[in-house]
Every structure is written in structure tokens, then in C-alpha cells.
Amino acid sequence: MQVQVPGSRAAEAKRLVRAVGREPFRMRSWAELGFFLAGSALALSGVLLLGAVGVLGVGLSVVFVGTFVLAGGLRTARGLGRWQRLLAGRLLGEQLAGPEAPPARPGPLGWLRSSLGDRAAWRAVAYLAGRIPLTVFGVWFALSVWVEAFSGVLSPFVGHAAAGRFGAFSRLLVPAEAGSHPPGALTRVGVFLGGVVLLFIAPWTMRLVVQLDLRLMRLLLGPDAASSRVRSLEVSRSKTLDATTETLRRIERNLHDGTQAQLVALAMRLGQAKDKLDHLTPVSAAADVAAVRRLVDEAHRGAKEAITDLRDMARGIHPPALDTGLENALATLAARSAVPTEVTVSVQARPSAAIEAISYFCAAELLANVAQHARATRASLSCAQHGPWLRIVVRDNGKGGAALDRAGSSSSGLAGLADRVATVDGHLSVASPPGGPTAVTVDLPWRS
């Protein structure tokens, strides 16, 4: 394949120059400067406040009141962290997730315990502590560049005295006249040009500092790794519970509407037959025996239907073929499919039992969809290891147009399947243009 070269080296350089040239006039650069200034002010006042609270708290802790003062300080640190995140959101559009609220416990002692044990608050203190060296670095590395740039650019207008106080960098540019009073014309031009150059450098140094700050914020002001893992596990656990309950409900519904009803109907027919035999009279014998035969026939047929349905249902709960591995189970499944289906299974090891079961049900559901909705004449089912995933792909040559959206009137159940797959952190994707062909891909983690 021909790789398209995006322009010559000259064009690339031109683009770079344009990007650098535009930078000082972009809102983003000014927002970053504002963020650094506001954040530094907030952090410095926070550190001063916390320092005072710390001294006061430790001093008073002999009389126990100090402990409350310390707890209050921690709550404040947490609040400052929130403000920092708000600043980042407002000025930079960086929406950072906050930590979870400390657990609410009753009473003042409960409040004290929650506050002192609040990991997020302690991490906010760590952030404030880390923000001090970052502020110093930022002032030296980025803010000073902005100041130099301003003073240089503005020097022709505000007089050299004011500009010269800062123009250290500019003086380096024109060392010959350094220190001479009053500065000569060359110096003035040099200071101005130096300012212009710095104006294009300042946004980049500031960006570095702001990125460092954002990184520090994500590290210390966001939800900590353990608690966000807990949260995601809670979500997946509740999904799993829902799915399990849903499965049990489906089994109950199937038993109620299927087997139970069939057996009641069966018992009813046999009851009727017995009743007729009980009331057999010589007059009605011939007709009654015929009726009894008919009832017994129906009962017999009903019994066989009930057995078939019950076997299908049992297989739906746990397919026995799965006990010997996915390959056998999928082959059996494809052989039973109404649409001729080609199977390829290339899996060396066995995935966990739960993953095997889910892959089986996905394949079963997808093949059932093909038979019901796709109007296909051929289908294929492949199952292979794909990195850390077990990938199942079901293709058909049908009419296409399958969609994941819930609102759709098609009862293909793809959305339900996607939910089920999500309970084990898997994914389901559908490629089904109108007119077909359709390919549904399910990726499941090797171990659930």
C-alpha cells in the first residue's frame, strides 16, 4: 500500500512555525497562565493555613481540642483539592474525577474519625506539599519567561527603566552595552526583540509546568486506585447479581409456562380418561373407549413434548457438551443450527468455566438470531484466542441491518447480550450494513 507523505520538509517546517507563531494568541495559553497563577495563590494560602492549623492543632492536642482542629484542617485540605479541580475544569476544561466522600458517621467523634481517617484529605495535604516546589519551579521556569517577554515587548512604551529591571535575558543578547546608562538604541531594540522571542517561548514553558501540575492533581486529588477499583467492582458485582436474578427468573418463567403447564395438561387428560373408564357403561362403551384412546394419545404426545422441552431447558441452564470443552459444545451448537454453519475453534488452553459458559450462550444466541432474523443461507462461527481475549465471531450472509440500539423494534436481543458480556468486562460489536453481510464480534477476557 502506498503511504502518503504529508508534504515536504519545507511544508512541515512552515506548519511548525505557524503553530509556534499562533501560540501566544491562543486562549489556551492565557488560560494556562491564569490557572498557574490562581492555583499557586490557592496552594500557597492553603499551605499557610494548614501550617497554622498544624501548629495550633499539635499545640492544643494535649487538651484534645487540637485533634478537632487537625480534623478541620484535613477537611479544609480536601476542600482546597476540590477548588483546584474546579479551577482545572473551568480554565482548562480538564474534568478530573474527585475522591469519594468520607463515610458519614454519627456524632462528633464519628466526624473526627471520618476526618482523620480520610485518605483523600491526607492525599490533598500531600498535593499541597508537592505544589510548593512546583510553584517555585513554575515561577522560575515559566512565569519569569512571561514576565521577561512582557517587559521586553512593552519596553518601548513604558520606558526602559521599568523594563530594564527585568531584562536579564535581553541583556545577554547585547552584552556589549550591558550596564551602560542610559541604554543605547541597540540595547533598546535588543530588549524589544528579545521580548518578542520570549513571547513565543513562554506558552510552552508554562504548558510544561501546567502539565506537571495536572499530573500531580490526577495522582493525589483524584480517586485513589484502590477505591476506584472497589467502585468498578461494585458496579460489576451488581450487574452480575442482576444477570443472575434475571437468569433465575427466566428459568422459572420457562418452567411455569412450559413444563408445568404441559404436565398439568397431561394430568388433566389422564384424569379425564380415568373418569371416563370409571363411568363406563355397556351402552356408551364403544364411544367412551374411543374417547379414552384419543385422550391417552394426547397425553402420550404431551408427555413426549414435555420431555423434549425439559431437556432443552436443562441444556439451556448448562449445556452438557460444555463439560468436554468449548470446541465440542460449539460444534454441537452449530450442527443444531437451522442455517448451515461452519465452525472454526482454535483455542489451545481452556478458559475459565464462566467464560466458557458465556461464550457458549453468546454463540447460541447469535446463531439463533441468524436463524430468526437474518434470512441467511450460510453462517460461520469462529472462536479463537486473541491476546488476552477470547474472540467469538459469528458471520452470516443475510440481509444485515442488525443494530445494538435498545430502542430498535428488532427483538434480536443484541443489547441484552452486550449487557451480559459487560458483566465480565467483555465487549460486543456489530458490523451489519443494510443488505448484509453481518458480523458480530464478542471479546471476552480469558479469565473472568
Binding site: R253, H256, D257, Q260, A261, Q262, V264, A265, A267, M268, R269, L270, G271, Q272, K274, D275, K276, H279, S284, G302
Partner: protein, 221 residues
Amino acid sequence: MNSGTDTLRVVIAEDSAILRDGLVQLLADRGFVVTRAVSDAPSLEQAVAADLPDVAVVDIRMPPTFTDDGLRAALAVRHRYPEVGILVFSQYIETRYAAELLAGGAARIGYLLKDRVADVADFVEALVRVASGGTALDPEVVTQLMGASRRTDTLAALSAREREVLALMAEGRTNSAIATGLVVSEGAVEKHVANIFAKLNLPATPTDHRRVLAVLRYLEG
């Protein structure tokens, strides 16, 4: 065959097609007139309004919501057409459903497990009983209500045999049926019944609903 049902008119509400068809066939066979067989709760109310049958056979779990739609419809029918007997039948017995059904009195009310249709004669007898103003409760209903009742003190005075008799009364049986069931003479049953009325403080009244009252007392525990 053995009619004696005076061509009772029946409406059937059952969503399972095989059971609905089976019931229609069974009841027609036994000389009932099935005026309509419907498969969901709203149609039941319409069918009753249109046909005013002697009795409606109602499945509890039906469309539209597959919860207790049948029971709701049955209660609505009871409210608007109290003269229509209601035989609720279901795969499960729920005490709460039984209590709701019986809240307005036990006359013309039946609540049976679906399994009971297997004993055709008993089922038909229960249906006739409900159609003609009586009560038919599944032994399972009685057991559950007995287990659920907290206040057994009113019943504490009864002897074991009297309780057995009362339980059979609660199922809606006549004295002669109770006598057959317990293998005693009908006279003995009458004596037990009289004792039960006395112990439950149910003096003879002109309207003579004592049987129903005793059963209710029993079910309330």
C-alpha cells in the same frame, strides 16, 4: 355423561393455550357451557360483562404483566358482578392472594392449585360448588393460611378431630363429603360441626351463614 350441572355457564381465562384448550374440552365433556375462553386479564372482564356466566375460571398469572393480573381482574369482577362465582387457579398458592380473595366473604369463591384438574370429578365438584354459592379452597391454601395465622387462641379450644372437620369445611366440603373423607358417620360429623359452632361462639341465625363464618374465623386464625 353424568351431568347434574344444569348446564352451568363458564368463562375461562388462561394464557397457556394447551391448558385453555384442555379445560374447554374437559368442561364441555362434563356438560358445562363454556361461553368464552380468553387469554388475558382485560379480556376476562369484558367476557364476564358480556356473558354474565355462573362462574369464571381464572388463572392468576396472565398478560399483560404476568404477575397477578388474573387476581386483579377477578377482584374487579367480584366487585361489579357479585353473583358471578370465581374459581381462581394457579401453579402456586400465595397466602396473600387467598386473603385478598376471601376479604369480601367466602361465598362463590374458589382457589385451587392447577394440579387439581387432574382429578376431574373433584375439580368439577368444586366448580359446581363455587357456581352455586359455595367455597372451594385448596387444602394447600388451608394449610398455608393455618401456618400464617398468628392468633390461634380461638381455635385452641377445638379438639384435633374438630379441627380436621373444620379444615375440610374450609375447603368447602359438605357434611357427607367430610364423613366420607374421615371415614365416620354423617351423624358424627354433624356433632363435630355443632361443637365447632358452639366453641367458636357462632349461635344459629336465621340466615345461617355459620359454616362460612366458622371457616372465616378459622382462616383468620
